[in-house]
């Protein structure tokens, strides 16, 4: 019993999304809910049956058989559904042939990838893409998604419902994009996976286990992309490398009480060496071809951070990578990080001049940076900037960090 109780949630996480992807691709977006219902029903039946009769020898095969039979029953008995869906199905299968529901490993991966392209579609917002990805590709419950977004069930349900409606009205196909389109569509997919990862990595949700799950799921989906010849492109490998490097610090950056430990204060012996090696492996693969995406640059920066030794040479390399990253694509975070690297490479005076040009006055991070830069240069200004940062910060984690720095600075001045 105990084993069964733990086994089902575990299988749910791994198998629900596979079943939904295969059936969803078969039925199309018009009937994606039916695919989801059949997958859910399958697990409900497993919970009932396994509880009474014990867990079967091959639980996964059991789930697949039940899902297949349920899907076939549905096609047989629901006339309306059958009329619509069979019409579509017959394009790929000849008439009279029984419908084959292929739950082979290859078809599962293909279906998940095609589903990924369908969900990460520019027609819907990034938030909706992440929500649908979590639900359909990762098998997360509505409650968990609401928790990750610090939202509630109703809002998430509405968001997912609208997103599906939109994908239907846009007639988005669950299929691989054409050869000419794939790079552009892949860009949207990678953006979504990166946001999904960041949602876990930087989320203000206190649920540490859930946050780690989000990161691992983003990595799993990126890994799926590297496993397929059509999608195994350099930017995908670069993104996966970036995720590996960041994830290597997962244990070191969160304290026992859930508090965030900043990079400088981390115990480097807690960094996951295996993930760092994996990151290097994927970054090497990413070097094929002549594409230099922002993920390449961000992964190269993250690689520099896997060495905690503070040398001017390291910071010079980081500075030049941030210069390139900003030339590729501006973002306020990259601009702030560049300025920090400049301070480490060329000194605080040079960095202050650059920082004053950024004009990011409404960002608490901007004032935190200026607070750091002015420390020991002009402590009065440093205090003023940290106080401003404290006023602008929204999350408790950010406020705590700024307060700590401010207290340290005030203590130093008063001594």
């Amino acid at each position: 019993m105990a084993a069964g109780n733990e086994l089902i949630p575990h299988l749910f996480r791994t198998e629900y999304s596979k079943i939904t992807a295969v059936l969803g691709r078969l039925f199309g977006f018009d009937h994606i809910e039916i695919a989801e219902d059949i997958a859910s029903d399958t697990f409900l039946l497993a919970a009932e049956t396994w509880g009474m009769k014990g867990v079967p020898d091959n639980p996964v095969a059991w789930l697949y058989t039940v899902a297949k039979n349920r899907a076939k029953d549905y096609l047989k008995h629901d006339a309306v559904f059958a009329g619509k869906v069979k019409l579509q199905l017959q394009q790929s299968a000849t008439e009279l042939q029984p419908i084959d529901i292929d739950l082979s490993e290859k078809n599962i991966v293909d279906s998940q990838l095609q589903m990924m392209f369908a969900i990460c579609h520019p027609a819907i917002s990034a938030e909706a893409q992440i929500g649908l990805s979590l639900r359909i590709l990762c098998g997360f419950g509505i409650e968990e998604i609401a928790d990750a977004f610090l939202s509630n069930r109703e809002t998430i349900n509405k968001r997912l419902f609208r997103a599906k409606e939109k994908l239907r009205s846009e007639k988005v196909k669950i299929a691989f994009p054409g050869k000419s389109e794939i790079d552009k569509r892949l860009e949207t997919v990678l953006t979504t996976l990166y946001l999904l990862f960041n949602e876990g990595y930087y989320s203000i949700s206190q649920n540490t286990a859930l946050r780690k799950d989000l990161c691992l799921e983003a990595m799993r989906l990126a890994y799926l992309l590297t496993e397929n010849a059509n999608t195994n492109k350099p930017p995908v490998n670069a993104l996966l490398a970036l995720m590996c490097f960041h994830a290597s610090r997962f244990e070191a950056r969160i304290a026992v009480n859930g508090d965030l430990i900043l990079y400088d204060d981390q115990d480097a012996s807690l960094w996951d060496k295996e993930l760092i090696v994996q990151g290097e492996y994927y970054l090497n693969l990413a070097a094929k071809g002549n594409v230099l995406s922002k993920y390449h640059l961000e992964a190269a920066i993250a690689l520099q951070h896997t060495d905690k030794n503070d040398t001017p040479e390291k910071w010079e390399r980081i500075l030049q990578l941030y210069n390139k990253l900003l030339i590729t694509e501006y973002s306020p975070i990259a601009a702030l990080n560049r300025t920090y690297a400049l301070a480490k490479a060329d000194g605080k005076e040079a960095a202050i001049i650059e920082a004053e040009k950024l004009k990011l006055d409404s960002s608490h991070l901007y004032h935190s940076l200026l607070g750091y830069l002015y420390t020991d240069v002009d402590n009065k200004k440093a205090v003023a900037h940290l106080q401003m940062a404290l006023k602008l910060a929204k999350s408790n984690t950010d406020k705590e960090t700024i307060k700590k720095n401010l207290d340290k600075l005030l203590l130093g001045i008063n001594q």
Binding site: N323, L326, I327, R338, L342, E354
Partner: protein, 114 residues
């Protein structure tokens, strides 16, 4: 926001091709930091390009090859920036490393098409 082209000019020296990687790094850093600084302010419209020393000039019926011995200055390269006013563009141009080498920067507004 308006776009401005910054054109860098200096005396014709074919030096860059002869630099060692280490020397090239010393020459590159001020340029990379300057463009990085513009990009960090979200004021870079196009990275433009650095021009090769070798080239040719075509006039009516006549083609002259480099190395432009008789010309005082050649164009080294250009970038396109975003700025609210010409004054702001000029401010950004003042940081250009070519000035330290005795060169000049021409600041020209780009005419909006369409």
């Amino acid at each position: 926001m308006k776009e401005f082209m910054l054109v860098f000019r200096n005396a014709p020296v074919a030096q860059r091709d002869a630099l060692t990687p280490e020397q090239l790094k010393d020459v590159s850093k001020p340029w990379q930091d300057w463009v990085g600084s513009i990009a960090a302010q979200d004021k870079l419209a196009s990275i433009g390009g650095r021009l090769e020393f070798d080239g040719a000039t075509v006039t009516n019926g006549l083609v002259t090859d480099g190395p432009y011995a008789e010309i005082k200055e050649i164009i080294l390269g250009f970038i396109i920036i975003k700025a609210a006013t010409k004054d702001e563009a000029v401010e950004l141009a003042k940081g250009c490393p070519v000035l330290k080498d005795g060169g000049s920067v021409e600041v020209r507004g780009v005419v909006q098409m369409g």
